[in-house]
């Protein structure tokens, strides 16, 4: 039972990061019917910017409180990621709004490669150590352990998601986002500037990815230029699991996928009689995707995709 709780905790931590990134995918898909393939790399950029900030802080203000440093890193990564994601929309996707759907996907793949290339040029190809700023003594929770960094991660994720819900439900921009996500043409007729809404959507997704990126670095202590693609794709699987276009779906899908992956990796050895081991962790997300698309394509909470007739 101890292992079980540990796996659940690991799953929650992993799932929170997936949820943050899945929100970006789902919101963009909701308004544009487009998979922003490069979104996972925005997570990587967030981690890299965070690392750069921490290095600068570490060099000039070594005695600064760890929490404060981490906070500054996150606050610094957010605008960086927003700029990147908004630029991607502007350069790559805007012109292809009415092109056949495969065109923007191929462009997105290209943008993903370019982001990784620029990261390679700026930060190099090798894995970079991410400073551990918070106390690392594990906290005992019901027979398992969790670190302060992971608790912070869960808290930040929960906070961000609440903030997002408030934004979407209670503010004018949120209403506009929901309108464009439902029917862009009619929203336009009602006076909503859908270009602005789309930029906002990309910006918010980027901000969430920035938080996830910095916390990823803090949690796993190592980052690299290629770290974003696979987690990004898994986050997309989580978004589909929860119901594409549906932000509550993305949150739930992220957490559920994290737990499935964690439990799966933990117990797969037992399940397959030792034939498969925990190295097979990465396949769960894709298997979940295939199952969802085959059995219940609208996901757990149901799709909310624009009516782009």
């Amino acid at each position: 039972m101890d292992t079980f709780i540990q796996q659940i905790i690991n799953g929650l931590v992993l799932g929170s990061m997936y949820a943050l990134v899945a929100l970006g995918y789902t919101m963009v898909y909701g308004v544009l019917n487009l998979i922003n393939f490069a979104h996972g790399d925005v997570l990587m950029i967030g981690a890299m910017i965070g690392l750069t900030i921490l290095s600068l802080l570490g060099a000039h203000f070594p005695e600064m409180n760890g929490w404060l440093q981490l906070g500054i890193a996150i606050l610094g990564a957010i605008p960086g990621c927003i700029i990147v994601n908004v630029l991607i929309e502007r350069i790559a996707y805007r012109r292809l709004r009415n092109a056949p759907r495969l065109a923007p996907l191929i462009t997105a793949i290209g943008m993903s490669i370019l982001l990784q290339t620029f990261a390679m040029m700026i930060w190099g190809r090798n894995p970079l150590p991410f400073p551990q700023l918070l106390p690392s003594d594990p906290i005992a929770v019901g027979g398992a352990v969790i670190s302060i960094t992971q608790v912070l991660l869960l808290a930040l994720a929960a906070l961000s998601m609440c903030a997002l819900v408030l934004l979407v439900e209670k503010t004018k921009m949120g209403r506009a986002m929901r309108a464009v996500a439902e029917n862009p043409r009619v929203a336009g007729l009602m006076g909503v500037d859908s270009n602005r809404v789309i930029v906002y959507t990309f910006a918010i997704g980027a901000a969430l990815a920035a938080v996830a990126g910095v916390m990823w670095g803090a949690n796993y202590a190592s980052i690299q230029f290629a770290m974003g693609t696979i987690p990004g794709l898994k986050a997309f699987c989580a978004a589909v699991l929860g119901g594409i276009g549906n932000i509550y779906g993305a949150m739930i899908g992220g957490i559920v996928l994290g737990i499935i992956e964690s439990l799966g990796a933990g117990y797969i050895g037992d399940l397959t009689g030792g034939f498969l081991g925990s190295h097979y962790q990465d396949i769960f997300a894709f298997i979940v995707l295939i199952l969802v698309l085959t059995v219940r394509p609208s996901g757990i909470m149901g799709e909310r995709v624009a009516d782009r007739a």
């Binding site: 487009l34 998979i35 350069i91 790559a92 012109r95 292809l96 092109a99 759907r101 495969l102 065109a103 923007p104 996907l105 191929i106 462009t107 793949i109 290209g110 943008m111 993903s112 490669i113 370019l114 990784q116 290339t117 390679m120 040029m121 190809r125 693609t229 696979i230 794709l233 997309f236 699987c237 589909v240 030792g274 034939f275 498969l276 081991g277 190295h279 097979y280 990465d282 396949i283 997300a285 894709f286 298997i287 995707l289 295939i290 698309l293 085959t294």
Partner: protein, 405 residues
């Protein structure tokens, strides 16, 4: 490209002359390049393999319009199958099997002879290539089956997932039964031996291949073999394109509902696209394994799948000559640049600012983005896609539905 035209239906004489010219250049190339060292021909060898892959992917993406992001899996399957059947690896596999199921293991030894314990299996290329094609073809259908009802972008992600799953299996299938030897990969794969000629060269000859009284470097021998396979691939895919099946593929790509209404069994036709496309990947994989002598999971990553896609997209989706051009550019250019760019940077700046690897990635990314934004049909698209209404053979008599009253 008005100089070279390969469209035999439009202007047969020009087409055949163009093809003959190109063939002459391709045949002469190794002998010319030889003067500058072996590496150029080696680059060409690998480029030819990539061209084969691009042509195979073109069947799936170009003809049938199915965006497969996991195509490299078939390359991997062909390569690993060759690794198992033409290297000492089978001995290692056997060892692990015997440890688990002694009875089964011993039966295998009894059937196939005692040496497989130490040497593994070494089947001839004539057996391996059809097997690789068949294995890839079957897997093409298997991996394609769950995607049949999915819309384009989901299909892409699912196929990507499959590609990753296969790579992960290749990377981890070494315990308890050692099939793929995990991250280390399979070594000492046999080279190709045909008609008594070993393409890796005779022992002690410095990798020189002897055909009768003639001698040529091993890389040249492989070059001609791969060139032959490429030509065969072009021939077969071209025939597929201009057939009842090829039309069905285009129909599905253009409007799947209308295709179904016209009696096309879209499920079977799509599976055929996946299957046929995959076989070329499998054969190329088998060639790759024998050429390189070893295979490891690194060669079959998502990056490689995307690279092959980039070749198809850059060249001209669905247009065979375009795809060949795209393959040539993206496979050879980075290598060529590496030989040029790094020394130039050393001279100019005293150090290498942009490594060749980075340059390669940059090229691929730029290719995908700029082509989709500015020339979505590719560098060399199919002639029919020109925007002029009378771009085809019929120029007389503008179509008009309104008869003068």
């Amino acid at each position: 490209m008005a100089l070279l035209n390969f469209d035999t239906s439009r202007d047969p004489k020009k087409a055949w002359i163009s093809m003959a010219l190109l063939l002459a250049v391709m045949l002469a190339f190794p002998f010319v390049a030889q003067n500058y060292g072996n590496s150029w021909v080696r680059i060409a060898d690998l480029a030819l393999l990539y061209i084969m892959l691009a042509l195979g992917l073109n069947v799936v993406v170009g003809f049938a319009g199915l965006l497969d992001l996991g195509y490299i899996a078939f390359y991997a399957l062909g390569a690993y199958m060759t690794g198992l059947l033409a290297s000492p690896q089978f001995a290692a596999l056997l060892e692990s099997v015997i440890m688990l199921h002694p009875a089964f293991g011993d039966t295998l030894v009894a059937i196939m002879g005692e040496e497989i314990r130490t040497n593994g299996i070494h089947l001839s290329v004539w057996f391996i290539v059809p097997c690789a094609a068949a294995l890839a073809g079957v897997f093409g259908a298997i991996l394609g089956a769950p995607t049949l009802k999915l819309r384009g972008d989901y299909l892409a992600i699912v196929t990507l997932g499959f590609g990753e799953i296969i790579r992960i299996f290749m990377n981890n299938l070494n315990d308890p039964v050692n099939v793929t030897n995990g991250p280390q990969g399979i070594n000492l794969i046999d080279s190709i031996k045909v008609f008594g000629v070993d393409l890796a060269g005779e022992q002690g000859s410095g990798a020189m291949v002897s055909i009768g009284s003639w001698q040529m470097p091993s890389v040249n021998a492989y070059y001609f073999l791969f060139l032959l396979l490429c030509i065969a691939t072009i021939f077969i895919t071209s025939r597929l394109q201009h057939s009842r099946l090829g039309r069905a593929w285009v129909a599905i790509r253009e409007d799947e509902i209308a295709a179904k209404a016209m009696g096309i069994n879209t499920r079977n036709v799509k599976l055929l696209a996946f299957s046929m496309g995959a076989t070329f990947g499998g054969v190329a994989g088998a060639m790759f394994a024998s050429f390189q002598g070893f295979v490891s999971p690194e060669s079959f990553s998502l990056t490689e799948s995307i690279a092959v896609l980039a070749m198809v997209v850059l060249g001209g989706i669905g247009h065979i000559p375009g795809v060949v051009l795209g393959g040539l550019l993206l496979a050879a250019l980075p290598e060529v640049l590496r030989h040029v760019v790094e020394p130039v940077q050393m001279q100019l700046f005293g150090k290498v600012l942009i490594e060749a690897e980075v340059l390669r990635q940059l090229l691929y990314g730029l290719a995908l983005v700029t082509i989709m934004l500015y020339r979505p049909a590719g560098l060399w698209p199919s002639p029919k896609h020109e925007d002029r209404p009378d771009g085809d053979s019929d120029t007389k008599g503008q179509s008009s539905g309104v008869v003068a009253a």
